[in-house]
Structure formats: C-alpha cells, structure tokens
Symmetry: C2
Subunit: 354 residues, 2 copies
C-alpha cells in the first residue's frame, strides 16, 4: 500500500533550497553556484546557464540573511517617524520607498508615536537589524539625542528630515520653514489683514521655531507690531486650534487673520469655530494652514496653505543616501543639508482682494 502525503498547511518544516542543493545536483562546488547566481565572470557561460536553469527548477531563493551577513551590509533602510498614518509622513515614506526600490533596497519602518522612549527603542532595533541607513523625523518630545549619536557610532548613515536636531552633524533634508512662513504671512498682510495671530507648535522642535521666525520677519518687513496676545503656544491639533480660536476671537481686539503654522488640522479647527461663531471667512477673518492636506482644497471656503512636497522629500532623502554611497571611496566631502523650498498655495480663505 502506498500513501502519498501532501502537507499543504504547515510546511514551515520544509527546508528551502540552498546553493548546496544546486551544487550537489550538478556535481559542482557551491562557490561556482554562487558565482553563477551573482553573474560573476569567473564562471563558464555553460555552467552559468545550467545553474540558472536548475535554480529556477528547484525554486531557489537566495537567503539574504546569509548573503548580507557575509557581505557586511543589509541593503536595508530603516525609517522612524512619529506616525505612519499621518499624511505628511506616509507621503515621505512612499517617496523613500519608490527611490529605494529602484536601487534594490528595502525599508523597515517604525513609528515613535511622538514618544522619545519609543523612538529610542525603535532606533536600537534598527541598529540591531544592521540597517545601512537610518532615516528619522524626531518625536515631538525628543529632547536629547544620544540615541542618534549611537547610530553614527555604529557606522550607520544617519539622515534626518523635517523635524531635525540641528546640533547633530548629519545629513539633513528639511523644508525652508522660515521662508515659507515669511511668504505666507507676507501674502496675508498684502491682502490687507492688520492683526495677524500665530498658532505655534512645540518650540523644542526646530521647525516650529523657524515658522515663528518667518512670521516675525514678515511683520518686521511690513513694520507691523508684534502683539504677544495674538501668539498662542502649542495649538497643533484640530481641537487645540479650535480652542485657541475661541480665545482669540473673544479678545477685546480680536485678530482679523490666523496663521495656523502648526498644521492644516489646526487651521480646520479655526475655520469651524469661526463659521460656528458666524464670522465670515475670508472677509472678516483670514486663515492659513500648513502642509497642504488633501482636505484643504475641499472645505468651504478652501484653505490657503503651504505645500511641503512630501513625496519629493522622501525621494530626496533616499537619493541623498545613494549619492553618499557612491561617494564613499574618497575622503572627499559630501553635502550635508538639503533644503526644499515649500510652496504657498493661495486659496479662498485668505483672498480678500480680487
């Protein structure tokens, strides 16, 4: 009696074919198989073809763990962001993935949930994984940066983007936040708004400091006074934006424009409160957000905002790494900071003229 037993469910025990299996079958050395598979020119063409054919037949898949261990590199880029499912970050990641994929690199992705404690764990995991490059945008409560120094000390290329630790000498890809804010606020002023409020984000993140600088610079440029009561700290969610707006609009002398420098979500909070209070946008109140979230185009009125070219930013990050790799042989110098100029997108919420 003959039984054919087929295991469909649990085949984890099944051994995968290795170069040794191919070598044995063809009665040649494993090294020749390896050379054939990596298309080395130290193998006979006939052998190469034979190996390739047999590999296909046996459904051979290279074990990258072994390969990478031997070669001392992992062809892997680690990415740490606060949240994967925030529009800006998912776009950056998409950009990184697109560029990396072309070069045969894989992405390992972690989220810090805006917590430094988790950020540190993520970074350590990625160091353990022997990523070749680590890309990070800092968590909001990130204060010291020993864990990043650690990345460098382990010989891993570190690239920071957007929310960067300025004092660390690493490759960086950032937006020119100050310039963008300057342009946005200038535009608001040119539309005839006189009392412009600022919703600012956590100042321990450089980006928010820069946006504030741009705001102040614009006021300075047009000789307008800086009014402290119009500057609200930490208003970077929709709810906080709404709350801040209620406070602002109940002032004796309320603002006639609000620059939500923190995010479009914050701007959305502003808009909703204004509409609920019967205040007309843009005639009585101008609103400008930051990030060009998809919804800013859809609200009524549509919201003026700033596009950060997030997918492009991701591609830039990845290509910066590859460029750095190409350069690695010489002792020559390499570019350290790439600044992408964001673009002001003027929509209805600030159009008072014309």
């Amino acid at each position: 009696m003959i039984y054919f037993i087929i295991f469909t469910k649990y085949m984890k025990t099944k051994k995968r074919t290795t170069i040794y299996d191919i070598a044995e079958k063809l009665n040649i050395a494993a090294s020749s198989v390896s050379r054939a598979l990596s298309n080395s020119n130290h193998v006979n063409e006939a052998t190469k073809k034979l190996v390739l054919k047999t590999a296909a037949e046996l459904n051979y898949k290279r074990n990258n763990l072994a390969s990478n261990l031997r070669k001392g590199q992992s062809k892997t880029i680690g990415v740490v962001v606060p949240f994967i499912n925030q529009n800006f970050f998912s776009n950056v990641i998409a950009g990184i993935e697109e560029a990396s994929y072309k070069k045969g690199y894989n992405l390992i992705i972690c989220q810090s949930n805006e917590l430094q404690s988790k950020e540190i764990k993520c970074v350590n995991t990625l160091i353990n994984q022997h990523v070749d490059c680590l890309v990070i945008s800092l968590a909001a409560d990130s204060s010291d940066h020993k864990h990043l120094q650690n990345v460098i000390d382990n010989g891993i290329q570190l690239i920071q983007f957007d929310r960067v630790a300025g004092e660390l000498e690493t490759l960086k890809v950032i937006n020119d936040n100050e310039q963008a804010s300057l342009e946005a606020v200038s535009h608001i002023i040119e539309q005839g708004y006189k009392r412009i409020a600022l919703l600012e984000g956590p100042q321990n993140l450089d980006i928010f400091g820069q946006r504030k600088k741009g705001y102040l610079a614009a006021l300075g440029k047009y000789n307008m006074p800086v009014l402290d009561e119009l500057i609200i700290e930490n208003a970077w969610t929709k709810d906080l934006g709404a709350e801040a707006t209620r406070k602002l609009l109940n002032l004796a002398e309320p603002p006639d424009a609000i620059f939500a420098s923190t995010s479009d979500f914050s701007a959305l909070g502003v808009l909703e409160v204004a509409l609920a209070m019967g205040i007309k946008v843009p005639s009585e109140l101008g609103i400008c957000g930051y990030s060009n979230e998809a919804f800013t185009e859809i609200t009524s009125p549509s919201i003026t905002t700033i596009d950060q070219f997030s997918v492009y930013m991701g591609k830039t990050v990845a290509n910066l790494y590859f460029q750095e790799m190409d350069n690695k042989d010489g002792t020559e110098v390499a570019p350290q900071i790439i600044s992408i100029k964001p673009k002001l997108i003027v929509r209805t919420s600030t159009k008072r003229n014309g």
Copy 2:
C-alpha cells in the same frame, strides 16, 4: 527646488563589537557571552552580570542578521500594499506596526503601485528576505496568484487582507463588504430615494463584487428594480466618479441617489459635479461613499460613508499571525477568515428625512 548645501567630511565606518570581543575581554568563551545575553539559565549569575556590564560598556548591539540566520527565523513581517500613502493602507500598516512592535517583530514594507508586475517583485524580495510572515492586499490588476502560492511553498505564513484572492486557502482578514453595502443602500432607500445608481470598482477584485452584491440585495429586499443604466463600471477615482456622475445626471431619467461603492474619492467627484450642476444634495441627490476618509466629515454637505476600522484591521492581521504561531504545535488547522463588520456612518449627504 534644492538650495543651500554645506559640506562635511565623510566618516569611515568602524567595526562593531561582537560577542567575541566581549568574550576576549572577559577571557571566557563566546558561547557563554551568548548565553548571558539571551538570559539563559545556563550561566552563572555573576558571569551574566559581568557580560551585560561589559556589553553596555563596549556599546554592543546584537547582529540580528547572524542571529536570525542561525535561528532560521527573521522576526520580520513583510507587507505589500498598493500604495503606502493611501489613507486606508497607511492606517492598516499603523495597526500592524503597533501590534508587531509589542511582540518584537519588525515590518518591511513595499508598495505594488497597483501593478501585478511590481507586486510579484515585491513578494520575491520579501521571500529572499526570509520574512516570517507576508501580509498582502492585492493590486487592482492582480489576476493569477502563482506568486502567492510561492510564498506558501516557501514556508512563509501568508495573510491576505481586504483585497483577497478568495480561492487561495490562506488566513484572511476582510471587511464584510456585502453586509455594509446592504446596510448603506437600505438606509438610502429608507430615506425615500427611488433611483439609486451604483459606481462599481474593478470586478476582478472580490471586494467590489461583494459591494455590488450588497447593493443588489438591498434592491431585492425592498422589491426595487435593478436598472442597468444606473450601474457604472470602474468609477473608482475622483475623476472617474465625476465623469460617471455627469453621464448619470444627463440621463432622461437621472438617479436621485448615487452609491459610490468604490471610495470616498469617487463620492467626492460626485458631490462636486452635482454642486456644479446646481443639483441640491441631499434633497435632489443622495450620495454615499466608502471608507470614511477624513475629508468626508468636512465637505458641505458632509458625506455619508462606511468606516472600515482600518487601524483595528491592521492589529487584527498581526495578532492573527501571532495566534497562529502559538498554535503551531497542534495538528489541527483551520484556515481562518476573520471578517470585520464595517459601520455605516450617516451624514448629511443622505439625510432626506428628519
């Protein structure tokens, strides 16, 4: 778009400390170091402490490539989705990440760009990477599924979610699309709409077939006729939704409601065309989308839609894998399908009564 550039010197990578370095320094065997680091109880407490201390001093990081090679597992989950930066997928990924992180697993993420050709490459890459589990949501033009069978044949746990190949016996996490559609269309009918159009997606993806079934079931339930001219194929982007709407609203007998079963983007296209044509929503035209994208809450009127619990779906996927792992010793095997019941979110765009 790229501007100022600062130069710095390239840093040479140095050799990382291994267990041998620790062993040498303490004059013990590498195996003891390994045991100490993995908290085995086959090492003396004193030795263990000493090793841990020295490891910290030398800034030792385990080389997971080597560890995983030896152990025959990678503690890595591969994820393939059409686009990382689509709301639904980025949410699912965030959910997977959250659950995986807790178990010490890492995520490798690829995007198929809705192309089967790229999907196949991604899958092969992940097999090469020796992921322990591969999670996938199929590309729109995915037709045959040899590459998925390949995953199984390589002993990798395969989990499909949302856009699944029904005929493949794998773990699956899906939405109950039919039930959700049934409820949505029933709601529309109960609001008094009589001629309900359907915008349907590529029927080679099961999910869109199921949504259509739900639509038909609802019509049947209320004894309403199925009108072929009100069913539009492949209208699953904003532009295609808009185009379909123009066609529908110009019919001799136009619909009084449109169920954009494909996506909220499609529904948005419907809304914009309707408003541009001066048709009142919801009184003259009811609109229902699918997915509960953030913007559906913001449009005026806000759009009725269906929430898929995407983050939860991601967590479910990951936990399904871990549960399967815990079970691996037992002989019994039931290819599990977990169906998550989506939730109808009624908003203004379909509220004719009350």
